[in-house]
Subunit: 250 residues, 2 copies
C-alpha cells in the first residue's frame, strides 16, 4: 500500500523551512514560498509593513500574483492585510501562540490516533524509531537545535501517515505559525529528556495499534510541551490581546 514514499512527503505538513531553490513554479507560488520563507527565517521581521507595489517590486513581479500570495499568507496568519495600510508581518503575541497551539495539538492528536488505527509498516516504524534514536543522541549531547529539527520531523512524519489529506493540509497551514514560536524559544529550551520519553510511549502505542493509548500519550505530550513552550514565551513576548490577527479591528 503505502510502503516506499510514505514519509518524505512531509511537504504536506512541513512546507518549506528552507527554500527549495526557486524552482520553476507559477509566479504566484514563487511569491508565496518566497515571502513565507522570508517571514519564517526572520528576514522579514514581525511588524514589517510593505505595500502591494513594494512587494511586487521586491519580487520582480506584478501585483496580481503577489496579491494572491499575500491573501494566502494572511489566511495562514503570517501577515495582516489592511487595505491602504499595507501588508504587515504579524508579530506573534502570547495569545496568538496559545490559539495556534490549541488548534495544532487538537489536530495532531487526532492524526496520531488515526495512525494508530491504521498501523505502521515495518519500514515506517523503523524510520520513526530511527528518528527517536538520533534525537536521544542529540539530547545526550545537549544539541537542542538539531534535536528540535528532528522533533519537527518526527511529528510531521507521524502526521503524514494519518491518511487524512485534509487533516494534513490544515495542519500544514498552521505549521508556519507554530514554527515561528518554536524558533523563538529554541535557545531557552531545557534538555528534552521528558519529550524523548513521551515520544517513545507514543510510538509504542501507535505501533501496538492501541488507538486509545496513542491518543492519550500524545495528548499528555502536547499538553505538557505546549504548556512549557507558553511558559518560556511568557517572558519574551507581549501578552497581546489577539494582536493583528486579520479580522476586523480598526
Amino acid at each position: 500500500m503505502k510502503a516506499g514514499r510514505a514519509f518524505r512527503s512531509n511537504r504536506a505538513t512541513r512546507p518549506h523551512p528552507v527554500l527549495p531553490g526557486s524552482e520553476d513554479m507559477p509566479a504566484r507560488e514563487r511569491a508565496y514560498h518566497d515571502l513565507r520563507y522570508r517571514i519564517l527565517t526572520g528576514r522579514l521581521a514581525p511588524g514589517t509593513t510593505l505595500l502591494e507595489t513594494e512587494l511586487a517590486a521586491l519580487l520582480s513581479l506584478s501585483r496580481t500574483p503577489v496579491r494572491e500570495a499575500a491573501i494566502k499568507l494572511a489566511e495562514e496568519g503570517l501577515v495582516n492585510i489592511r487595505a491602504r495600510h499595507g501588508i504587515t508581518v504579524c508579530d506573534l503575541s502570547l495569545c496568538d501562540v496559545a490559539e495556534v497551539l490549541d488548534v495544532f495539538s487538537a489536530l495532531e492528536i487526532r492524526a496520531v490516533a488515526l495512525v494508530a488505527r491504521r498501523g505502521l509498516s515495518h519500514g515506517e516504524h523503523n524510520h520513526l524509531s530511527g528518528l527517536l534514536d538520533r534525537m536521544e543522541r542529540y539530547t545526550a549531547n545537549g544539541n537542542i537545535v538539531r534535536w528540535s529539527d528532528l522533533d519537527d520531523d518526527f511529528h510531521s512524519s507521524m502526521v503524514s501517515l494519518c491518511g487524512n489529506a485534509r487533516l494534513q493540509r490544515t495542519l500544514g497551514e498552521y505549521w508556519g505559525q507554530q514554527f515561528r514560536a518554536r524558533m523563538l524559544i529554541l535557545p531557552l529550551r531545557p534538555v528534552p529528556h521528558q519529550s524523548d520519553k513521551e515520544h517513545r510511549e507514543i510510538l509504542a502505542a501507535v505501533h501496538a495499534r492501541d488507538e486509545e493509548a496513542a491518543r492519550h500519550a500524545h495528548e499528555r505530550h502536547r499538553a505538557r510541551a505546549d504548556a512549557q513552550q507558553l511558559a518560556l514565551l511568557k517572558n519574551h513576548l507581549p501578552p497581546g490581546d489577539s494582536t493583528d490577527s486579520q479580522e476586523d479591528m480598526r
Copy 2:
C-alpha cells in the same frame, strides 16, 4: 429555511447557509458568498464545470475577483480547479465526508473543552438550553428538518463561545463541506432521541465547567453521530477514493 437569525457571531462558524441579501461587499466577497451559496443549496450541482470566464459572466464580474473567490472555495474543498479544464463543483464521496468529519469533530471537541474551561454566562446557558428545549419539541413532532437546523445552531453557538478565533475560523472553513453531507442525509435521519440526550449531557458538563466530562461527552456524541451519518451515506454515495479533492491528479 433558516429561522430566527440565531443570535450573534455564528458567522464565524456558520458562514451563510443563506445569502444575507447580496449586501454591498467587495466584488470578490460577493462572488465568494454567491458561489458558496449556490453550491451549498445545490443550485450549482456537484460535477458542474465552469470556466473562469463563464463564472465571471454568471456573476457579471471580471475574472479577477471571481478567480480569487474560486481559489478560496477550492481551499475549502467545495470546488476543484483544474487548469484549462475549468472549475468543477466537488461531489462528495464517502471518503471525503469521512475526512471532513474527522477534522471537524476533532476541532469541535476541542472547542467544547475550551468552553467548559471558560464557563457559561447565565444568558449563554439560557440560550443553549432554550435551543435544546425547542429541539426536543421538534423531536417529539418528528420534524427532523427543523431539528437539524437547531442542531447546527446548537453546535455553532457552542463553538462561538470557545474564545479561540483561529479555531472558529478553521471550523468555519470546514462547515460548508459538513453542511453538504448533512443535507444529503437529512431525509434519511432517524428520530434523534439519542442526540437530544447527549446534547443535554454536553451542556451540563460545560455548565459545570467540567472540562474532562465535556470533552468526553462531546467525543462520544460526535463519534456516534458521525458513524451514523457515514452509515446513512454509505448507501447513497460512491465510496470514492478521495475524489477530485484538489491536489495533483491531472
